[in-house]
Symmetry: D2
Subunit: 363 residues, 4 copies
């Protein structure tokens, strides 16, 4: 019941701390016979890598992944795949001053309450850096899903702070440092420049969409596909809300309007996708549509009242290198988490229903 | 990796279909030595029972729970507790006409795609009726948490359809059939009467709050407390969104405003609770604050275009007895799910950190 | 991490006590579309039922199984299957006198140490009666394996007390109450009559063999097929030893003699089966050969020194109805456990390797 | 449901292949606050290291363990502990000639059947080398158990080939390369010299004993302490049999003789230990007594008939460096596996029963 493992069959066990010697993960349950090399994984790591623009932390990590096991002569063997990423840029001194005090909104307080001690270097285990192994594992899942079903994943930022970004097209996402689906990001740039000058941080809202998901993935109760998606994404640093399909907007909907009408045709088509691709916890073959809310970075330059480990009042100022908006680099991470959930359920579904004749229509 | 089990240590395995002989669950991992009888469980079942007002389904089920195992002379023995609820009111004929067609927005299509067959009687496994065993198991968790930590859970409805209900006080919740925290529910009654007359349905938004949760519950990555809360609640029928603390409102927040300042004092106190009681996936000792969005009931009396199992166009009208708003009876279910998650993490935390000297301050 | 669940994908959760209202289990993960009724399960329950001969406990239980869920119109739906067996013959008074003292070799002492209390009625949870739900679940697994791969399971008794029974043929097993593979069981009968007269009990050694097991079942490390077989069988009441293939005889073997030579031919054949069908934790397509040792029944009529819950010396005499040799009724239970392990691994293997082209040769 | 993970709460996930860049494991669930460094782990690795005598494989590996995570300033933090061991001595060419053929009694055939491909270098994942991470993880468990309960583990060889070694005392075990509990091992040396000269291999029988195990560890059904011990040890390379207490000798026992009488006294004492410390699947406070049978090494120098991947007959001769008796180095591995099982159950028991007043007597 390892709490640091995601997935029940395609199981990813994550390890490491921000400033330890290395971070990484072990993937157990990967199907054998898939071509895999570091080159399949590195591109996604590049997308979430720090130091790529002036709008994210200036920590400079190469984030080079090394495959330690599970691959022989460029092919997965079916045995556990260990992915290792060495930590190279560690300025522990930046954090020494906050080792004994707690940042408002930061996990350092809760770690201390749970474990009685914590690794203060760069946030230790609670650092967003630990999402790198998740992204690496997600790249493996993405490749298998793409080869098996033609599944594709796309994510973008839809809101940053109080700015609604709007949606012009997926093609814009890779052309700006914000993963924004619009051509002109000058307004976002101005907002972020002003934010950094103020020493403050802001939140963001992201959208992730998955195309060509087989119908039939998910379990009736508890381990529903949408439940596991919510588990994976709410488990991402700073996420405070998750929506499937129309999400909270569904509250004001009428059933006559919300229910997606099924249309006649070879494989089922629908007149709309208010449900975001999941019905009764099981995928219906439509695109999975997921949205998440990320809170503002808790580590900011502005002084704030807090307490220290002795319970005495202190004023906390967080120096060091931090993302003014953790949401900026979260898009590839959210994609990876979604890929891991879909991958896990694809294997679970194959276990239980794999031999059923009607399954053919799913691929 | 049973998909119908909730929790890793306090593990609840749910079984049954709406119109089968019985529904129920098996609780494994319950601590021994706790006084327990049906009288501890029945009250919560009464709160979610159908037929209690003109605003919910008129299906009349006694929903009497029977403890089949795990209790000896009124005390839990530490062995699995099986809770059984017999189905008594089954009008299968009501559903015979829709056995071969699919309701827009309903799980009957996805079950058919996954399993190649389905139990159409009352929605079979996908019926909201299957939340009864969850509520029963939740009552056991609530009792243990209350006796162990003084933990209490409270839920209410905050929106129904396009009506914002507001919050006047918890004392009102038990005085109206909507679990609304207000004295005057006439506006809600009018809304629901009109809705039923129209044959349509609507969504709802609920809030659940947990008091006196020990600090230190949850795991660093993946199995975070908030992640498991999201998993449990997104797994509830019709839920399309989950928020912790300020949820999606956090997007527009500044870090300087969002981070909850810690105040000096014996046990940690905070100046605010934007984070809803969870930091870095671990409880911080504040109240857990959770909100969920439920979509409109998919079974409505209005005719809608759809297809049948042969892929041909049909018009679907759902007769039978349905809740015009599934959110109305969802409050005790959401409380139960939250109790199950907190209970599971309380035991998991005790396993790993139970002997640590600093844990004393947690109870 | 429910400790009362067997299997990770085909997961059987067992509940109940010997003298509670009922015992049973929930099977999660059963493939949909398989014909199933009580008639498929009852025959195996009959084989392990008490009161069938003068050599086993005279407790008279009908052991009628009821399918409460997971089956619709005679076909598995893919949702959890709850199997219920009501307890009908409960003479609690037989056990009242031993409620406060501990039987040497019996679980009542360890339950008391673990839980601080115990259900003394008929041994409560530790009663061999709790193997009935396991047998029922095993019957479901047997049916699926038989239909999917033509897999068959056969068990027999090879030793009882100090009598080596020998092996004349499987056809004899169903013709005597001992599951002995020999035509003449008079020696066994004499032995058991003398044993009962003496008020004592004895142990037994059983063999279980599985034919037509697909090659490729099992995982490289830890969850090996043989490891999970050992887990399942050592978990059976009174079992103190498990062997795969030549077992302990392998110690004195030379590698040149022990290694089973592979022979040319369409699908792999072997010159011998010293390894009992498992190599490196993975099935090789040969018959699975397993042997187990069961200790003597701990509940005997002879007086023995012991202590009570106050730690004071007492003399214990166990009245009531007990099997003089628990091994006699263990054969169908061991078959069921083996079927459950193979079933679980068949589904796990399909999840990971199901789509591989070379898998065709496995069925 | 990762198949390469051992333990449900103290969960050890193993990765790597014999000739890949590295092997290792991730331990999740380790309690925080325990002093830990490589120096606590290396000694056990030395005990199972190859090349230490002329009676084991001459492969020369330093087997230096590196702690990559989960430890800060010499103390466990409660987060996952990754233990890495680099592979340094890899003579892949030794194995190239057998890449396309199958060794009788070796896993290379079953891996090929399961995965459709295999890593032939040094046996890949099936190599006994993969027990090194298990030993490393076991050292962590041993330390915690010793500090918590004073638990100690001791293992020795009792039979090698057809030689019964006997037992003179634990003090001899560390003084000879066979882990034999006798002063004079000349007979064993002669046997092994003759064996190596013949190019053949032999099996072995080991005993492992655990002292000061708290009473109350284990679960009623399925996940019994003895069941999980059998799972862990049968999962060790070459093991074909596992016994608890008197094991197979129990078959010929009478209940009046086998049942261990409880003696009056402060904490329970017993007149004997035929049950090997486990009753009804739960520890009774006596020493755990476990025995295992290991088959002869399958890789031998003698020519044997076999087939190749094309199904054609071939003659196989295994060159390279192999242990003539894998049992020789298995003692520290068996100790580690037993420590991991007891550790896992100690945490699981604390989760469920940790707060019970009667637990004090257990430590």
């Amino acid at each position: 019941m390892s709490g640091n493992t995601l997935g029940k069959f395609f199981a990813v066990t994550n390890f490491g701390e921000s400033h330890g010697p290395a971070i990484g993960c072990v993937i157990d349950g990967c199907p054998p016979g898939m071509a895999l090399s570091e080159a399949d994984i590195q591109p996604d790591l590049e997308r979430r890598r720090p130091g790529t623009s002036s709008f994210v932390t200036q920590r400079a990590e190469a984030d080079l992944v090394e495959i330690l096991s599970g691959v022989y002569q460029g092919t997965t063997t079916g045995t556990p795949i260990c992915l290792l990423i060495r930590n190279t840029d560690q300025r522990s001194k930046d954090y020494s001053d906050i080792a004994q005090s707690f940042r408002p909104g930061h996990a350092d307080y809760t770690y201390w309450r749970k474990y009685g001690l914590r690794d203060p270097r760069g946030g230790g285990r609670s650092s967003a850096r630990l999402t790198a192994p998740t992204v690496a594992a997600g790249a493996v899942a993405k490749k298998w899903l793409r080869e098996q079903f033609g599944t594709t994943l796309r994510g973008c930022m839809t809101h940053i702070g109080d700015i609604a970004i709007g949606f012009e097209g997926w093609e814009h996402v890779c052309r700006n440092p914000f993963f924004a689906p619009v051509a002109d990001v000058s307004a976002i740039e101005d907002h972020m420049h002003a934010l950094r000058k103020s020493g403050d941080s802001c939140g963001a809202r992201l959208r992730v969409s998955v195309q060509r998901v087989p119908a039939g993935l998910g379990e009736p109760l508890y381990d529903r596909l949408d439940a596991d998606i919510a588990h994976a994404l709410m488990g991402l640093n700073a996420v405070k809300g998750v929506e499937i399909g129309d999400g909270f907007a569904s509250v004001a909907h009428k059933g006559s309007m919300h229910g997606d009408a099924l249309l006649p045709g070879g494989s089922a088509r629908f007149a709309s996708n208010h449900d975001g691709g999941v019905l009764g916890g099981i995928s219906n073959g439509q695109d999975l549509e997921v949205a998440i809310a990320l809170k503002p970075t808790s580590s900011i330059l502005l002084p704030r009242p807090s307490i220290n480990t002795a319970g005495q009042p202190v004023e906390v100022i967080t120096k060091g290198r931090h993302d003014p908006c953790v949401g900026i680099r979260a898009t590839p991470i959210a994609e990876a988490l979604l890929a891991l959930v879909v991958m896990d359920h694809a294997l679970r579904d194959r276990a239980q229903c794999g031999s059923a004749p009607w399954r053919a229509q799913n691929v």
